[in-house]
Subunit: 102 residues, 2 copies
DNA sequence: CGCTGGTATCAGCAGGCAATGATGTGAAAG
DNA sequence: CTTTCACATCATTGCCTGCTGATACCAGCG
């Protein structure tokens, strides 16, 4: 069966700020303070987005004293990559698969 | 430099109906009538989403008499796949790259 | 031609979600 | 023990966007 991509996961990554966070976390593990500095967003706003990313399984939290470090879960991104690759391959092979006009 | 994923493109694919359309088009080239049947959405709604997908460069239109066929552009999906793969790889190698607490 | 059917565009409405401010919690520093 | 700082949660507001109905456009067909 054609494994469709999870809409919720893409929706989560569709927000520009969240995508920026993910891009930053792809470089290094950061805590909220760093993310506030890098993105310029308010702490509350960041915390909201981090909650969304956490519940979507994109990031993991790692408490360190008073700080909370966030790190990416690469397997989620890798899974997305595979799903898109599968879609692309399917689209390639089905390019001439045209259903007749009704 | 780390080529970040295009937020607009992901946002476009983040809508459940649009993702369903893309999944359907990955199997075969279809015209609006078919998509209306498959998705159960109104024609107007479909047409709006097709416009978004077209402007995002995800699909191509191919007029055929009174009908308009839509087909996917696999290279866009393949590009997305590569970008996510790059992010995942970067995240893997940067897992231990932890910035110091301020 | 005029008619019919397929498709695109436009205007309006309603729901959802992101941004903000106030507040709570928990851990170190003094 | 009190204060301070990092972070999370809650409630509110405002905007964005997806859905709908009406309408215009274009291609065949009679």
């Amino acid at each position: 069966m054609l494994t469709s991509v999870d809409p919720d996961l893409i929706r989560v990554l569709g927000d520009p700020l969240r995508l920026q966070i993910v891009t930053l976390l792809a470089r290094e593990t950061l805590c909220t303070t760093h993310l506030v500095e890098e993105t310029g967003a308010k702490q509350t706003n960041l915390s909201n987005h981090m909650k969304v990313l956490r519940e979507a399984g994109v990031v993991e939290t790692e408490p360190c004293g008073r700080f909370t470090y966030y790190k990416l879960r690469p397997e989620v991104l890798a899974g997305l990559s595979e799903q898109f690759a599968a879609l692309a391959e399917s689209a390639c092979s089905a390019a001439e698969n045209k259903r007749a006009c009704p």
